[in-house]
């Protein structure tokens, strides 16, 4: 108790020791309204880690540390990653925590129990401007576990408050990457999933019966079924990784049958089902533009994001899950390439800032720059989407977390 009080006081004094940050940007993408940037803008960060003011006619009060940059954007948000679980060394039993293959369905595996915010890849992304990641269990088994939303300045999960959302989604995979001995076929995979969701429905019924009737015992606690009950109750979305069109169609069919909140992930052949996806009103977290065109991704196209945008389907970019090298991708690099293939530039930027914030239900906090929102910023010496541009500074909760000019 005394120790934590001391730490609290220490952190207060550290906060006081750091000047508040003001950013002067030639071009500021607030990612609000029509997404158009503001010229010669100023942002003030408040001591509580939120944005105090944004605009062109702001005086920077005395005592602020002023960063003068060419371009400022909201901190970049990676809509789906495995960083912090799939470590830099790619060393099984040491830093590979993203996929537990002992059983095909394990929704009870929590991301918070696996996340290592000190892995060098987290810093790698942070230095490049990524301030928030939606990370957790990887695609590769039918249900691999949970995802969470966390900022990239968090070294370890010491309490649920260290995350933005401790359980943001349950990760499922349809398609060949989730097939092995059993399920060994696509049809079997769906049969297993349906059976499991039916069990969860029964579990939910038993719980409500017990709640309504004192005579009835509550069912034995079951963390696996409980999280699936949360999925069925739309408390937690089911993020289904499906690349082939028939797998995407299966995901839509499952949603139709069980009525959960679906986030479509990967979706390499979504361009074949634009009408169906639009009608279902579900968002898509598109595979990395630089994903490799093999296996279920063999018919992927660099124009997928542009096609989703044109159709009016909500979408966001992801760095995805890499099994080898590069061990992580960088989400705004993926967005940049989509911009080269037909996606308007400001939409590319939106799809790694405000769009993922909306999909994750966090757009009241992150993804755009407005008073009261988190002061998370990425600062650049040029067009954020150009490969040759450097990320000069990164700010999380109003504090400078990187100035490596990478």
């Amino acid at each position: 108790m005394f120790k934590s009080l001391l730490l609290f006081l220490l952190s207060l004094s550290l906060t006081a020791a750091h000047a508040q940050i003001a950013v002067k940007a030639d071009l500021l993408f607030t990612m609000t309204g029509d997404l158009k940037p503001i010229k010669n803008a100023i942002i003030l960060c408040s001591p509580d880690g939120t944005i105090q003011a944004v605009g062109t006619d702001i005086q920077i009060p005395e005592g602020y540390q002023t960063l003068t940059v060419k371009v400022a954007t909201p901190g970049i948000i990676d809509a789906h990653s495995t960083v912090g679980l799939s470590g830099i060394l790619n060393s099984p039993k040491h830093d590979q925590e993203q996929l537990e293959k002992s059983a095909p369905i394990q929704p009870e595996l929590r991301a918070i129990d696996a996340y290592n915010g000190r892995d060098p890849l987290v810093k790698w992304l942070r230095d490049l401007g990524v301030t928030t990641v939606h990370t957790g269990h990887a695609p590769g088994t039918l249900i691999s576990g949970q995802l969470m939303v966390v900022k990239t300045n968090v070294p370890a999960i010491t309490s649920l408050d260290d995350t933005l959302v401790p359980t943001s989604a349950v990760a499922a995979t349809l398609g060949s990457s989730a097939l092995s001995k059993s399920p060994g076929t696509r049809a079997k995979a769906i049969a297993l999933l349906r059976a499991e969701l039916l069990k969860a429905q029964a579990h939910a019924r038993k719980i409500s019966t017990a709640e309504a009737d004192d005579e009835k015992d509550a069912p034995a606690p079951n963390i696996k079924l409980q999280i699936l009950v949360d999925v069925l109750n739309k408390k937690t979305p089911l993020l289904i990784n499906a690349q082939r069109h028939q797998d995407i169609a299966s995901a839509l069919r499952l949603r139709e049958e069980f009525g959960f909140n679906l986030i479509l992930d990967g979706a390499a052949e979504a361009y074949l089902l634009l009408e169906e996806i639009k009608a279902a009103g579900i968002p898509v977290i598109v595979h990395p533009t630089m994903g490799r065109p093999f296996g279920d991704l063999e018919n992927m196209t660099f124009t997928l994001a542009a096609q989703l945008h044109q159709k009016g389907i909500p979408f966001a970019f992801q760095s995805g899950y890499e099994t080898y090298v590069p061990k992580t991708r960088v989400v705004h690099f993926e967005a940049a390439l989509a911009a080269a293939y037909g996606l308007p530039r400001e939409i590319a930027l939106a799809a790694c800032t405000i769009y993922p914030a909306k999909i994750l239900g966090l757009d009241d906090k992150i993804g755009s720059l407005a008073p009261g929102k988190h002061a998370d910023l990425a600062l650049f010496d040029g067009d954020p989407l150009e490969t040759t541009t450097h990320t000069t500074h990164v700010i999380i909760n109003g504090k400078l977390v990187s100035s490596t000019a990478k």
Binding site: W124, T303, Y324
Partner: protein, 444 residues
């Protein structure tokens, strides 16, 4: 089909000796087409960028490059207005695995007798995609899971039915290729005959090269004696290594960690072979030693470090550190590690981390040609060189720039306007399926 093979045969001497080509030569061949790409921004690479420039080709060969007002375009030339477009030399990838290439099997760690030549699928979509990426010349290699996984093959990505149609002939009639070697963790395995440690890896390689030295002497003696009565028992493995010792073939050496890099330099010192360091993730740690050894490098820029233990300390500044020290540096895709269609972007990462734009473009073209000993015929836009070039929509290092056309030896092999080619350039339904190479351009 028949006429196409004849055409390939007719081109063969030009491919081998582009410099001796002359329009004055008496020949029964049909009149060679003259093409003029006018008003472009041209990066010849061997000389500074030229605005409002013209590239003039005759048949498969460049005959002039320069400011449009200084180039005389013959009346019968086909004029292609390239206003607003940028022309760069065809890209050269010094390390690629396209064409579903394979090499050595798991029977032993050193297999110099194995040729990737015998495995390449010229109809694989990865080859179409590489053309869409502006790549005109590749070094196709087997993997890094062996100390020596086989003979590589240098190819021009011409349209063709057989690997021979795409191959490059050397003046002695043999095909142009190198040899793939590796050290570090990829070639270390749990079970013999593969090495379990780095020291064992080096020992196995040294022993094999010592045997090759004996073979080399025997072979030289046999050739010198020139006695038709005497037979010489060929050994396909030792023969390849002896070619390396003779300086006839280059070793393309996969290596990541600083100590592994130094091991390669030590082997080179002991056996005196020509070697190129590939990947060189920790080049920044031993850049002085690499420069002192005067060994060229072929680099790759990944979007993040790691993925394996020995790539933990990979840094983007490798290119800049080598450039500072004057090391001949090329780039490679290592496709499928980096897709061939992102090759220009790869160089842009080098620029981001301090390479000059000039050297980065050179690393994609002329430096690669030098590393493959093909710089007399490809790698830059100069009169006498093969007409391999790429039309871009803008700045080579801008992410928004699109590759519009790829030309090899004066023939268009990729055209973004062609629906089939566009499928290979962007992906889409069917992009992953191999198909008959009916590409846009060859039959036009």
């Amino acid at each position: 089909m028949r006429s196409r093979n004849l055409l390939a045969l007719a081109l063969a001497p030009l491919i081998a000796f582009p410099l001796i080509y002359s329009s004055a030569r008496e020949s029964p061949e049909p009149e060679l087409k003259i093409q003029a790409f006018t008003n472009a921004t041209i990066y010849p690479v061997s000389s500074p960028k030229i605005e409002n420039a013209t590239l003039l080709l005759k048949g498969d060969t460049i005959i002039a490059v320069g400011p449009s007002d200084q180039i005389d375009i013959p009346a019968d030339a086909q004029r292609i207005d390239a206003t607003g477009k940028t022309i760069i030399p065809g890209l050269i990838c010094t390390h690629s695995h396209i064409g579903s290439v394979s090499g050595a099997d798991s029977s032993s760690p050193i297999q110099p007798e194995v040729r990737v030549l015998d495995s390449i699928d010229v109809r694989d979509t990865s080859i179409n995609k590489a053309r869409a990426g502006g790549i005109t010349t590749v070094n196709l290699m087997s993997g890094s899971g062996h100390l020596l996984s086989g003979q590589t093959l240098y190819l021009k990505l011409r349209e063709g039915n057989t690997v021979e149609d795409l191959s490059i002939k050397l003046p002695d009639g043999s095909l142009a290729y190198g040899v793939k070697m590796a050290n570090g963790t990829n070639s270390i395995r749990d079970n013999g005959p593969f090495p379990g440690t780095r020291a064992k890896s080096a020992a196995l390689v040294r022993q094999k090269f010592l045997e090759a030295q004996v073979y080399q002497k025997k072979r030289a003696k046999h050739l010198e004696e020139n006695d038709p009565e005497k037979t010489f028992e060929r050994d396909l493995a030792l023969e390849t290594l002896a070619d390396i010792l003779d300086g006839k073939r280059t070793v393309h050496h996969h290596t990541h960690r600083h100590d592994d890099i130094l091991t390669v330099l030590r082997l080179k010192e002991e056996f005196g072979f020509k070697v190129v360091l590939h990947h060189v993730s920790e080049a920044w740690k031993v850049a002085d030693e690499i420069a002192a050894a005067d060994v060229p490098c072929s680099l790759i820029f990944l979007d993040s470090p790691g993925g394996k233990l020995e790539a933990r300390d990979f840094e983007w500044r490798n290119g800049a550190e080598l450039e500072k020290r004057g090391v001949l540096t090329a780039l490679h895709t290592d496709d499928p590690i980096n897709d061939s269609r992102w090759f220009l972007r790869n160089a842009a990462i080098g620029v981001r981390a301090g390479m000059s734009r000039e050297k980065a473009l050179e690393a994609l073209t002329l430096s690669g040609a030098k590393i493959l000993d093909l710089d007399k015929s490809v790698g830059s836009l100069e009169p006498g060189k093969q007409a391999d070039f790429v039309l871009l929509s803008g700045d080579p290092f801008s992410i928004y720039t699109r590759i519009l056309e790829t030309h090899i030896e004066g023939k268009q092999v990729f055209d973004l306007e062609d629906p089939q080619d566009r499928l290979f350039a962007e992906g889409g339904y069917g992009a992953g399926h191999n198909r008959q190479a009916t590409g846009c351009c060859f039959y036009r």
